[in-house]
Symmetry: C2
Subunit: 438 residues, 2 copies
């Protein structure tokens, strides 16, 4: 039985208990959210996770880091370094998007080393195999496409992106209406390419019941991919994107009916003023299914800074109800990221997630800011640096421009506002002190 089926049957699992504990929510509450399909707990039955995590409504906004080799950079060791960097920076999950080297071995290494849930995009694997064996992506057999989903499930992958909504009708909508950047989803493009050549329907749509059977057997959470995600803000919220979302909403319904955990993927490049509406539409159409967004990037013109453009979009999306942010690194649109860029991407996404958690009123989020500001007010530098999102960097920046007076910083020095105020209004004894009459 899947975590969804177990939750519906009222059974408390060890995985739910551990995820609830990590989250700081009651296990019974988490079980209920999973039962309602408003949260998912990616937990393949073949794998143990040292850091399990649930994704969904009322929970802390989670962050995913994409790693993986490419044809030009197939070194698995580098990707394990990125995995370590991502986890150390606080990624809640990782996805292995490898397309270069020995894909089975790399996936196994990531599954072995990762403490967090691991996701993949099986269609990448199918496309790489087709190119290696037959010289062309279009040589993928429909059975092979389903076969990669099964292979990943059997290998222990916790969640898979499946672009089941890239149907002939949806591709037709895109082609009829036109787009500045067309499709930018790799998985969606592989499928559309295959469908055009063979004149056939998307196997992941046509044979969705088989996909569900595999997912149910191994308790793989389905992440319904948005092949039509806009790759330019000019393309956002167009007919193709909405048409696909309507298909995904129906498939999500079928997944839940089959006892399969499901979440929905979202854009992409979206102008700031559309983000809230996009999230609300998804939540309504998909009856509260967890929403997993890539970015969104709020402008197309800032390659090199797309961790920032996506932190802006991600914060707004998550505040509006998105549950899961796929990070974007500074290398996006330019090349494969380094481990350092992976770290920067995770931190930027965590800032967006935390910011949204304050806005959403997630328990514990605001408390950390209160404590940080209390330490700032007391000029407790050691305490502040300890509580920072990235203590190592904060320390390095403080050391870069040391103050002559360690109680202050080098920007204000003796003109420190807190020091001046303390002269006028000596700090109050602590509440504890007052209660003691000290």
């Amino acid at each position: 039985m899947t975590q969804l089926e177990l939750a519906r049957a009222g059974k408390m699992t060890d995985e739910v208990q551990r995820a609830a504990e990590a989250e700081g929510v009651e296990a019974e509450r988490l079980r209920q959210l999973i039962a309602e399909g408003k949260a998912v707990l990616p937990a393949n039955v073949h794998r143990e996770r040292r850091r399990p995590c649930a994704v969904g409504q009322g929970l802390r906004t989670k962050v995913n880091a994409n790693i993986g080799t490419s044809a030009d950079y197939p070194d698995p060791a580098k990707e394990l370094d990125k995995l370590a960097a991502a986890e150390q920076a606080g990624a809640d999950t990782v996805m292995d998007l490898s397309t270069g080297g020995d894909l089975v071995a790399i996936r196994q290494a990531i599954l072995d080393h990762a403490a967090v849930p691991v996701g993949t995009v099986p269609i990448y694997d199918a496309a790489v195999q087709a190119v290696r064996e037959h010289g062309a992506i279009r040589a993928m057999a429909a059975d092979a496409i389903l076969g990669t989903v099964r292979a990943h499930a059997e290998q222990g992958v916790d969640f898979v992106t499946v672009h089941c909504g890239v149907t002939r009708a949806v591709v037709g909508t895109m082609e009829a209406r036109g787009r500045l950047c067309g499709m930018v989803s790799r998985g969606g493009t592989f499928l559309a390419h295959w469908m055009r050549f063979h004149g056939q329907e998307n196997p992941l749509f046509e044979r969705f019941d088989e996909v569900l059977a595999i997912a149910r057997e191994h308790d793989v959470t389905l992440s319904l991919g948005d092949g039509m995600r806009p790759g330019a803000i000019a393309d956002a919220f167009d007919a193709a994107q909405v048409h696909e979302l309507m298909v995904l909403a129906e498939l999500a319904e079928r997944a839940r009916a089959a006892g399969v955990q499901v979440m929905i993927e979202g854009p992409g490049h979206v102008p700031l003023h559309q983000i809230e509406a996009q999230v609300r539409l998804q939540k309504e159409l998909c009856k509260g299914a967890p929403f997993y967004v890539l970015g969104p990037l709020v402008t197309d013109i800032a390659p090199g800074y797309d961790h920032i453009t996506s932190a802006i979009g991600g914060a707004i999306a998550a505040a509006a109800g998105a549950d899961f942010l796929c990070y974007v690194t500074p290398a996006e649109h330019l090349g494969l990221p380094s481990a350092e860029q992976v770290r920067q991407g995770v931190v930027a996404a965590r800032i967006a997630a935390h910011t949204a958690d304050i806005a959403k009123g997630i328990p514990g989020a605001m408390e950390r800011d209160r404590e940080m500001s209390a330490r700032r007010r007391r000029r407790d530098w050691a305490g502040q640096l300890e509580l920072c999102l990235d203590p190592r960097l904060a320390r390095a920046l403080r050391d870069q421009a040391r103050p002559s007076d360690d109680e202050t910083c080098s920007m204000c020095g003796k003109f420190c506002v807190f020091k001046i105020t303390d002269e006028d209004v000596p700090p109050q004894p602590s509440a504890q002190g007052e209660a003691d009459g000290s």
Copy 2:
């Protein structure tokens, strides 16, 4: 006559024409906005600006970079490097916040070298002089406080922050209600400290007519500082902040009546869900006066990344109507920034501003994204890199992980979505080509 008085009299000035041209709006439209007090054109009569800029409704969101020495780092040469870095990265204005070294000489050097409008905070100067001459900030004479405003105006400063709203009543509201971080505005703190010691009203409030006379004589734009800006998100939108804003709204009214250009400063640390309401309140209370925000920073816990926390807040604030973003650098809360951190701060703020300009429908903003995405779709790498917000960094990141095929990037390589799609659907001839029948 000030630009406000000239605009009201229906007179077109050279400065308005140049600012309108730089902005891409009609000069007559800009003159009208200035006449209505919905835009300001900081333009001290004693100084020429090679890059004049107007700030306000319907105009491109502007970005200010704070530079300036501190007691610990008084080297003027470093600040001129930061000025160059800020202007090169696209700052629309700079503020000299120096508190170390020869303040008059540093200010003069910045005024001489800056192509953009220059702002200052005269109370810093008064406080530094009082400490040097009498050993204490509280030794500032009221006349000396007004004297620094006059000295900066005579020296050619285009806009000054004056914390006129830090009244005894407003400070009383703060003290009665309490705050986690109290006051974090330096200028506000100097004044509150002085007021507590002397038991007197804020001279910048009590003698506001003198401030107006100075501003009018030299056409210095007043930036009414928010001494009560929250320095912790827990303190945002509290009684002290709103009380001060109400005072500033009245003073703005008086400034306009006196023919003095005026804008309002805003927070600070503000949780994401409050930002839009804060901007709307300011715009209503202050009858459309330009709103100049610092950040806002959406969380307190990310020192080292406060260019990102403020890009999130700045984008949302500007989309809601804020007109002018004061950048925040990664060094904020830790120390005085380096030139490189100044550059990073300006770029992050420009991303926020541009993002908001798309949301606000500022002419030209969306067009740049369209063109960027068209070049991306064509795999025109040289063209993309040229149009980036920061071409130098984008090139460096692309070079860091070169692809084997120069038509792609090293993330996707032969699996490039655009390459695959071009195989299926050969690129259309351009519209021009079609019209020619070619």
